[in-house]
């Protein structure tokens, strides 16, 4: 047994001494060329698409694995990659490969042949505002026509299936304010309160709405506004404070205490009456932009000519909102004024640094 042990030990030691440098060289990207049997530096390309499971061709050769995938042992130089997925436009680029380096094509956003867009409201609106968490407020000139939508509805469902977006009126038809007319709406992102300036029976009223409550709690705080302010700003750091801006002075209004404080030197955050009209999506610099009548997509481009894709036409004076959690874009259709949703990202990307194949967990869990 001792002799056998020694023999086997030396065999294993020899195998190790031979294998170790070879494996380390392989790990560093060196392979032995089949042409001249010389050690050559190679690179690799990592291809990940949104949505995944796309077919990849490199220099015309079909890769057996679907995206996300790593294509190894590529000789330095340009390689032509084509990505195909049913229902989406082909993605083609010449990708430069550098020895010992990985070219990362992370979260390539595949452009659908036709953008999936659904009309989710039966009536027309004048504008939309995003408030707290997933609450979208679609407004009209009459208060009873203001509705609330939850943007994360249908987070896990397939967009192609029927998803019913429940319309929740902000004011019940029996409300004393129902027939009032909306003048202005003040809100701040991630703030559960909104302030409505309305004319009720031709009298100016300020209504403080708590969207956290179900149904929303509405309180008339007109007494806190002796004059009509030129604008009102909601304080994100303190839900219960608002700032009323007048030509000569600013008042801090504490909703909780029902008190008005003169505020001479207050640093007001930029007035957030409008939602941002641009969104960086897909966990990188793919840009979603509301430009004039068009909502357009500008995918980040590292290896080819930058391209623009028109998604939908929207009223230029209205806002849009992109819900990161389910990759949906909400906007008002230019012609009908109906609230619409477009599925921009089929999957929610997890990390900005790609995970190598061997460590990858299934993306299916993130399927939306």
């Amino acid at each position: 047994m001792l002799l056998l042990r020694k023999i086997i030990f030396y065999i294993f030691a020899l195998i190790y001494l031979i294998l170790c440098p070879l494996i380390v060289a392989r790990m560093l990207g060196f392979v032995i060329s089949s042409r001249n049997f010389q050690l050559v530096k190679t690179g690799l390309v990592y291809v990940d698409t949104n949505p995944p499971d796309a077919t990849v061709y490199i220099d015309g050769h079909l890769e057996r694995q679907k995206t996300p995938l790593v294509i190894r042992d590529l000789i330095p130089g340009d390689h032509f990659i084509r990505v195909e997925s049913s229902g989406y436009q082909d993605w083609e680029r010449n990708i430069p490969i550098v020895g010992k380096e990985a070219t990362v094509l992370a979260n390539i956003l595949l452009i659908p042949e036709e953008w999936p867009i659904k009309t989710i409201s039966s009536k027309a609106y004048q504008n939309i505002f995003f408030a707290d968490d997933d609450i979208l407020i679609a407004t009209n000139s009459v208060l009873k026509d203001i509705d609330i939508f939850h943007t994360t509805l249908g987070l896990q469902e397939n967009f192609n299936q029927d998803i019913t977006f429940e319309t929740i009126p902000l004011f019940s038809p029996n409300s004393i304010y129902a027939q009032g007319r909306l003048v202005r709406l003040f809100h701040a992102p991630q703030n559960p309160f909104i302030l409505l300036q309305a004319n009720i029976n031709d009298k100016p009223k300020f209504l403080w709405v708590n969207l956290r409550e179900n149904p929303p709690l509405i309180e008339d705080i007109s007494d806190l506004f002796p004059e009509i302010p030129s604008r009102v700003s909601l304080d994100n750091s303190n839900d219960e404070n608002i700032y009323a801006v007048y030509p000569q002075h600013i008042y801090r209004i504490s909703i909780k205490d029902k008190a008005i404080y003169s505020q001479e030197a207050v640093h007001l955050k930029p007035f957030a009456s409008n939602l941002p009209q641009r969104f960086l999506i897909n966990d990188k610099n793919d840009l979603l932009l509301h430009e004039g009548r068009w909502i357009r997509l500008f995918p980040e481009e590292d290896f080819g000519t930058a391209q623009t894709y028109n998604i939908a036409r929207a009223n230029p004076s209205t806002d849009m909102y992109f819900e990161e959690r389910n990759g949906k874009l909400f906007f008002l259709d230019e012609t009908s004024g109906h609230l619409c949703a477009a599925q921009i990202l089929p999957y929610h990307p997890m990390l900005n640094i790609p995970i190598p194949d061997a460590l990858r967990f299934k993306k299916d869990a993130n399927k939306s």
């Binding site: 042990r5 086997i8 030691a13 380390v24 380096e101 190598p356």
Partner: protein, 543 residues
């Protein structure tokens, strides 16, 4: 070589050297672990290359060990069927001056292998001219140290000795009872002594006084006390020490029925029988089905480790319950009385005393012990952890052995380097491998920054690791099969279900590697490094 195998009473340069060598293993383990964490963060390429080289060496070691584990298990199965008493009789009757043809082999291949080993051993014995005493002249001294083990634990162990194939009247059973043991424990021991008085040549209890100067509260002090008094017993009866084999067993050690016949055989056929320890294969079957799954896997792993070690007598060190020449024990002045790891320390003490001319002879026979077990799952968890930490405290031998090796001129330099390296590397990999495999190996990827994430290394390391781990899983599968074959049968109705559960339990190996192997080893080394010496802790045993 005359050498005081102790860390106590050192002065000047020796004290400083001892302290430096105490710090060395822990410092190296921490350097490896923290070094790789820092490398992963700041030089991920270097960390990845080192990790891949380590993974590869690990898998080679695993496959190599698995191969010998399989061979060793096969040999254990073969030798389990050997009629050792018949062999003792044959050796007794052999005329070595005339013998030319060794006994015939049987018709089955296991018998033929066993017979071949037997013939070779006889040839070596004949060539050595170191002829053994007759088996009827060989006596066994069996020492059971007792401090908190109750009758339920000790009696099956004594009963197993009474049921030996070897003549019980050539055996002396000694209870090494601690004076500080509880009265009910002491009472139980005395009752056992009375019960088994006539079953053996004698059954004696020696009570070890609680406070003897120069002794620590360790098992070695207790067994040494009992062995010294046993020497008086043999002297008084005119039994030469060279005819006595001493076995120091944990109180829960249940030996297989042919243990002492097998031990006597190995003693007889070993030319250097007076300078040898005899190491059985420890298995933990006494309560294996009553303990939580993780404990079952941990102890099955320990048995397999000993099976693998058994194939390498050149580097084998005594572990747990084992036997040795009583003459050697007396000559080396018994077990260390101030060390926790007395089981391995006695080998090193003898190895140094005899200038490297001391060996451990593996025996393919099992001794069954208890898996550390307590009242609750959590307490069992703690017990198993503490037991592993105590085993890992064997690192306390490293500084003493190294001091002896530095001083020794008689032990060949090659042997000193070989064994010194094995001792050091063994403890280093014990404390680090689990962490490197289960945790730190992932760090280069986890801490990856953009420049590393855009290198081929970032993508290739996980692939290489996965391939290596798949091979490692193959070794785990082989271990599962062997484990299922070796485990004792249960009386439950759904035996197959238990076996399936046990097979699944082996999937805990990555966790166990960290929690019950690397962590206690690192803990022990850190304590030694900081000079916070461990105190002997008696493992909880419950049936």
């Amino acid at each position: 070589m005359k050498f005081n195998y102790s860390k106590e009473n050192l002065k000047g340069r020796q004290a400083r050297l001892q302290r430096f060598l105490e710090i060395l293993p822990g410092a190296c383990s921490w350097t490896v672990l923290l070094g790789l964490v820092l490398l992963s963060m700041f030089l991920p390429f270097a960390a990845a290359v080192i990790m891949v080289a380590f993974y590869l060496s690990w898998i080679m070691r695993v496959l190599y060990s698995t191969f010998f584990m399989v061979l060793s298990t096969i040999q254990l199965g073969i030798e389990n069927k050997t009629d050792w008493m018949k062999r003792l009789k044959e050796i007794d009757e052999l005329d070595f001056s005339r013998v030319k043809t060794p006994p015939r082999a049987g018709s089955q291949w296991p018998q033929r292998i066993s017979s071949k080993i037997y013939r070779r051993q006889l040839e070596e014995l004949k060539a050595s001219k170191s002829l053994p005493p007759k088996s009827r002249d060989i006596y066994h001294l069996v020492i059971f140290p007792v401090i908190k083990e109750d009758r339920d634990i000790i009696e099956p162990a004594v009963e197993a000795i009474a049921r030996q194939h070897f003549h019980p009247k050539q055996m002396v059973v000694v209870f090494a009872l601690e004076e500080r043991a509880k009265p009910e424990i002491q009472e139980a021991v005395f009752r056992l002594e009375k019960k088994y008085k006539n079953a053996f040549l004698d059954c004696i209890t020696f009570v070890h006084p609680a406070a003897i100067e120069g002794e620590a509260r360790v098992k070695g002090a207790n067994t040494t006390w009992a062995a010294r008094h046993s020497a008086e017993f043999f002297k008084a009866r005119g039994i030469p020490f060279e005819n006595v084999i001493v076995s120091c067993f944990d109180a829960d050690t249940v030996v297989s029925p042919h243990y002492f016949a097998c031990l006597t055989y190995h003693f007889m056929v070993s030319p250097q029988r007076q300078r040898a320890s005899f190491q059985p294969i420890p298995v933990y079957h006494n309560n294996i089905w009553q303990v939580p799954g993780f404990a079952r896997v941990v102890e099955s792993g320990s048995s397999f480790y000993q099976l693998i070690e058994a194939t390498n007598p050149e580097k084998l060190v005594t572990f747990s319950s084992h036997s040795m020449s009583f003459k050697a024990l007396v000559e080396v002045d018994y077990w260390p009385v101030d060390m926790i790891s007395d089981d391995s320390a006695i080998f090193w003490k003898a190895y140094i005393h005899y200038d490297g001319k001391y060996q451990v002879i593996p025996m393919y026979v099992t001794v069954s012990m208890d898996v550390a077990s307590a009242e609750s799952w959590l307490q069992t968890f703690q017990s198993v952890y503490k037991q592993k930490q105590r085993w890992a405290w064997g690192v306390e031998n490293f500084p003493i052995v190294m001091r002896a090796f530095l001083k020794s001129k008689q032990i060949p330099l090659y042997d000193r380097l070989r064994l010194g390296f094995k001792l050091f590397e063994g403890h280093l990999s014990w404390a680090t491998s689990g962490f490197l495999l289960s945790v730190i190996g992932w760090f280069p990827i986890i801490f990856a920054r953009r420049e590393f994430a855009e290198s081929v290394v970032y993508y290739n390391v996980p692939d290489i690791r996965n391939t290596i781990f798949t091979l490692g899983f193959l070794a785990v599968c082989i271990t599962i099969v062997l484990s299922l074959a070796m485990l004792p049968k249960t009386k439950t109705r759904h035996r197959w279900l238990l076996k399936v559960v046990h097979a699944v339990e082996w999937l805990m190996v990555p966790l166990i590697l960290v929690i019950f192997s690397a962590l206690p080893a690192l803990h022990a080394q850190t304590r030694l490094m900081l000079g916070r010496y461990l105190e002997f802790w008696v493992t909880d045993k419950k049936r």
